[in-house]
């Protein structure tokens, strides 16, 4: 027989001011199976919790209903108290008399009656609660970091330094990401590569890190602690073990007219190439799409010149299968290019470039070795216009968000230009200057005040070319919406940061959600910014939304800590509020009939197949089975299941049914 204890809290006067707590306790005390019912000023206080613990022992309670505030507030508190009192914590329920009753209704009989109804329905529910045990899941202590930009590098190093194994996968031939393309970084104007390359080398040399470049994620199965990941190592067409990275092949390759990705198309590279001089690993790959041998069937110059005979034209892609415990997604971002802007000529004007292209122009290792020159004619631009918010914060362009980094890098660009072209004039069109961050606003002020960059608050409506110049037509809203026309030599668009190409496909492989802009979605915007909705998969950097280097690095370290925390024990404990498919003896095994419609309804791929077989291996029946490691307990499958073969622990059919009946009937 159930023996339920009911504890009605006054919450000071928060509840008792409108609800007659004594009457609630008294009325509920008369119910069948209620062994103990009392009210108290502060149930959550130490003495209050002691009342519960004592009552559990004294009355040998089989269930507890704490009638107080919202369970979202104190459910963990009271469940813990019950556990300390010797009762399984999942045999404790809360009746929400504060947020859902006393605070929202006037003091009258109806309010007290409602309180009684709420408590009664929880009494009926708790009678049907089961003593649940936390779920234990084993953990493979190897992390996978997807993406080798600064976010991935930071995460990988942090995790590896905690003593855990890390596998890093980067789809391009070298790690380094966008940061390796940058010239100097705000707000300190230190050289990006100078601070990044040591980290890149550290990754390559770290005993705990295995690096796969030119590789992509093929598939991800499993769940937290137990992922099975397939990685496709694209053929680099050479034997990395033999190759010394001398680079002779790259200089002899006859095909040299391929737009260089690293230079944002502002330089050319051969078909066999090392993306940039500091690349890690510093070994070339053959771009089969452009290589003459793969296109026409002959050439093989690289093979001939290679001193170590490392070229392997017939090398196949390789598929690796790895056991992984946690995944950090750090796939970064892309930017929109000038061709996205009709009003700026659909990309047809060579001297309208984007921010990353400017970075390459300004970089000492870039195509102009750091000289700011017009792409069209190689002249030094005397008049340069920077346009912030190119695409960003523009719902009409489908990008309502702020790309966050552009204000700062535009100021940096203008400064770099002024430092290199002293007599030149730099203009910045902006909407607002968003320079929140340590030393950020000071940096912008320096650009304006010391480097005399002309900041114009307004948008640019159109740019067109006339007589070899770019006519920039905009407006100065601080001068009463005065039209402004600048005859410029070059325009730099601070284009919107967007999700990295392939982000959507990757999200689908990982089964993590993503927003309408294809940025990966965090589990909670404030309190779980590095987690995803899929347990065991974490986010770092700009794959979540555009962010600057300090933010990226912080988040990457945050993700690393999440991974390290997960890896701190050999098994993981989870709340047991998960679904379960019933089981019974043969010949039924389960009432599940195996239609597997629940598989398509489950957001977490938590539903698996289980075969029941005869001794000689013939399948008698295949039924659904919940993977407790994956199930998050939403219960959508439960409501869908026609034969009611799935139930949700903590919100079972029996429990919710009892709640409905108890809310509406006299007892």
């Amino acid at each position: 027989m159930a023996r339920i204890g009911v504890f009605v809290c006054h919450c000071g006067e928060n509840i008792s001011a409108t609800v007659d707590c004594g009457k609630v306790a008294e009325t509920i005390g008369k119910l069948k199976h209620v062994a103990y019912s009392t009210d108290y000023k502060y149930m959550c206080s130490d003495p209050g919790q002691t009342i519960i613990k004592d009552a559990i022992k004294e009355h040998n309670l089989t269930g507890v209903v704490v009638s107080a505030c919202s369970p979202r507030m104190h459910e963990p508190t009271f469940r813990k108290a019950c556990a300390e009192g010797g009762l399984n914590p999942f045999l404790c329920e809360m009746a929400n008399l504060r947020e859902h009753c006393s605070w929202v209704h006037e003091k009258n009989d109806l309010t007290t009656e409602k309180a009684i109804d709420i408590v009664r329905s929880q009494v009926e529910k708790v009678k049907l609660n089961s003593a649940l045990q936390p779920i234990k899941v084993p953990v493979t202590r190897t992390a996978l970091v997807i993406g080798g930009g600064i976010a991935g590098i930071q995460s990988a190093l942090d995790i590896a330094n905690c003593g855990h194994k890390v596998v890093m996968v980067e789809r391009s031939p070298s790690i380094g990401g966008h940061m390796s393309q940058l010239s100097e970084t705000f707000p300190t104007l230190d050289c990006s590569q100078c601070i990044l390359t040591p980290r890149m080398v550290e990754v390559a040399q770290h005993p705990n890190i295995t690096l796969y470049t030119y590789a992509e994620i093929e598939s991800v199965e499993g769940f937290i602690g137990n992922f099975k990941v397939k990685i496709r190592k694209k053929a680099k067409s050479l034997d990395e073990k033999i190759c010394t990275g001398c680079g002779l092949c790259t200089t002899k390759c006859p095909q040299k007219k391929i737009p260089n990705e690293f230079e944002q198309g502002m330089g050319m590279r051969p078909a066999i190439y090392i993306p940039f001089p500091q690349a890690v690993p510093n070994r070339p790959v053959i771009d089969r799409e452009h290589c003459t041998y793969y296109i026409k069937g002959k050439c093989k110059v690289c093979e001939i010149v290679c001193p170590t005979k490392a070229i392997r034209f017939d090398q196949p892609d390789e598929i690796l299968e790895l056991e992984i415990g946690a995944i950090v997604v750090s796939t970064g971002f892309d930017i929109k290019h000038a061709d996205f802007f009709p009003e700026y000529g659909y990309g047809k004007y060579k001297d309208i470039i984007d921010g990353l292209q400017f970075e390459r122009l300004a970089s000492a290792s870039g195509p102009t070795t750091g000289a700011i020159l017009r792409p069209s004619d190689g002249q030094v631009p005397k008049n340069i216009v920077f346009i912030a918010c190119a695409g960003s914060r523009d719902p009409a362009k489908g990008i309502a968000y702020c790309s966050k980094i552009c204000c700062m890098y535009t100021a940096k660009h203008a400064m770099l230009y002024k430092h290199k072209v002293h007599e030149g004039k730099a203009h910045v069109f902006y909407m607002d200057i968003r320079s929140g961050g340590k030393n950020y606003d000071e940096f912008v002020r320096r650009a304006i005040e010391e480097d005399h960059v002309n900041y114009i608050r307004g948008r640019v409506s159109t740019i067109y070319e006339r007589d070899g110049k770019l006519i920039v037509k905009g407006v100065d809203t601080l001068l009463g919406a005065q039209p402004v026309e600048i005859v410029a030599d070059m325009v730099v668009l601070a284009t919107a940061g967007i999700a990295s190409s392939g982000a959507e496909e990757l999200a689908q492989k990982l089964h993590v959600s993503y927003d309408s802009h294809k940025f990966f979605a965090e589990a909670h915007p404030k309190l779980k910014p590095v987690e995803t909705n899929t347990a065991g998969i974490f986010l770092a950097g700009a794959c979540q939304n555009p962010k600057d280097i300090p933010d990226t690095v912080s988040q990457a370290s945050g993700a690393a800590v999440k991974v390290a925390a997960l890896f701190s024990q050999s098994e993981l404990t989870r709340e047991p509020l998960v679904a379960a498919v019933n089981r019974s003896g043969p010949p039924m095994y389960s009432t599940c009939v195996g239609c597997f419609l629940c598989q398509s309804v489950c957001p977490y791929q938590a539903i698996e197949r289980e075969d029941f077989k005869t001794r000689d291996g013939k399948i008698i029946k295949t039924v659904a089975k919940i993977n407790e490691g994956l199930c998050q307990g939403c219960g959508t499958c439960v409501a869908l299941c026609r034969s009611k073969s799935i139930d949700l622990q903590g919100y079972s059919n029996n429990q919710v049914y009892a709640e409905v009946v108890a809310l509406l009937n006299e007892y």
Partner: protein
């Protein structure tokens, strides 16, 4: 019909299948299901306008399955049922030979599932004409009149579950009505409980009903319960532009979604 018999004989004689599920004439003249395992008895097979039962219900019946590989005489609803059963992993396409019959009774050449799918796709997949007319009539009534109509009809229900048993898609080994923790549907037959049962049944067939009308035909007390599932089949098409049982990869309407599914009643 001769083609059908010849084909059935051939299949049995060559041991391609062990049983032909088709129709025969009973002693009172009604057509009824027949299970022919002996080629000599293939002559019993008939196909004419009396042959209306949806034979797909036998595809999931253990004792019929035990007979071995089967060939089934399949009208359009049977074919659509087969599609649903494959998509819901209850049967395997490889284990069945479909002896398709067209609406005029001629034997179709259904070589495989692809051919069957093509045949289904070019057929009229809406509800049967006579039922469409009934639905139109009912939809014309006021809400109160409809409530009264269904109360009257469902008061007749004796909970024999012939509607459920006759339906090829009600293949669960345990039905919700047999769950007693909690007792979702009262065991006894009363109008209210009967109504809950028929709501449950219709909802469980939402997006799955292939409009064969078998449930209504099976009802011994003449409740037009097939109109409930057929109304939902109409609505499924209205809202989601799909007909059930048109592909072996059919994803069920209620277990999938589109983010932009349109509704007008959620505030």
């Amino acid at each position: 019909m001769n083609n059908l018999i010849a084909r059935a004989k051939e299949l049995l004689e060559n041991k391609i299948v062990q049983v032909i599920v088709g129709y025969e004439a009973g002693p009172t003249g009604v057509a009824r299901p027949a299970f022919i395992t002996n080629p000599a008895k293939a002559d019993l097979l008939i196909y004419d306008e009396r042959c209306v039962q949806n034979l797909a219900v036998y595809l999931t019946k253990p004792e019929v399955r035990n007979l071995g590989k089967m060939a089934i005489v399949a009208t359009l609803p049977v074919m659509r049922s087969i599609m649903m059963l494959i998509s819901e992993q209850q049967i395997f396409a490889d284990n069945i030979i479909v002896l398709g019959v067209s609406s005029d009774g001629s034997l179709l050449d259904i070589a495989d599932i692809k051919v069957m799918q093509a045949y289904i796709e070019k057929s009229d997949l809406g509800n049967p004409v006579k039922d469409r007319a009934l639905l139109v009539e009912l939809n014309k009534l006021s809400k109160e009149e409809r409530f009264a109509y269904w109360q009257k009809e469902l008061s007749k229900c004796i909970k024999c579950y012939a509607c459920r048993q006759a339906c090829p898609l009600c293949y669960c080994t345990r039905c919700t009505v047999e769950v007693n923790q909690p007792q979702w549907i009262p065991v006894q037959s009363n109008t209210h409980g009967n109504m809950e049962w028929h709501i449950l049944r219709a909802m469980h067939l939402a997006g799955r009903c292939i409009s064969c009308g078998e449930c209504g035909r099976a009802c011994p007390v003449g409740i037009p319960c097939h109109l409930l599932t057929m109304q939902l089949a109409d609505e499924v098409h209205n809202y989601f532009k799909v007909y059930a049982g048109t592909s072996e990869k059919m994803s069920s309407v209620l277990s999938t979604f589109e983010p932009n599914d349109k509704e007008s009643f959620i505030i």
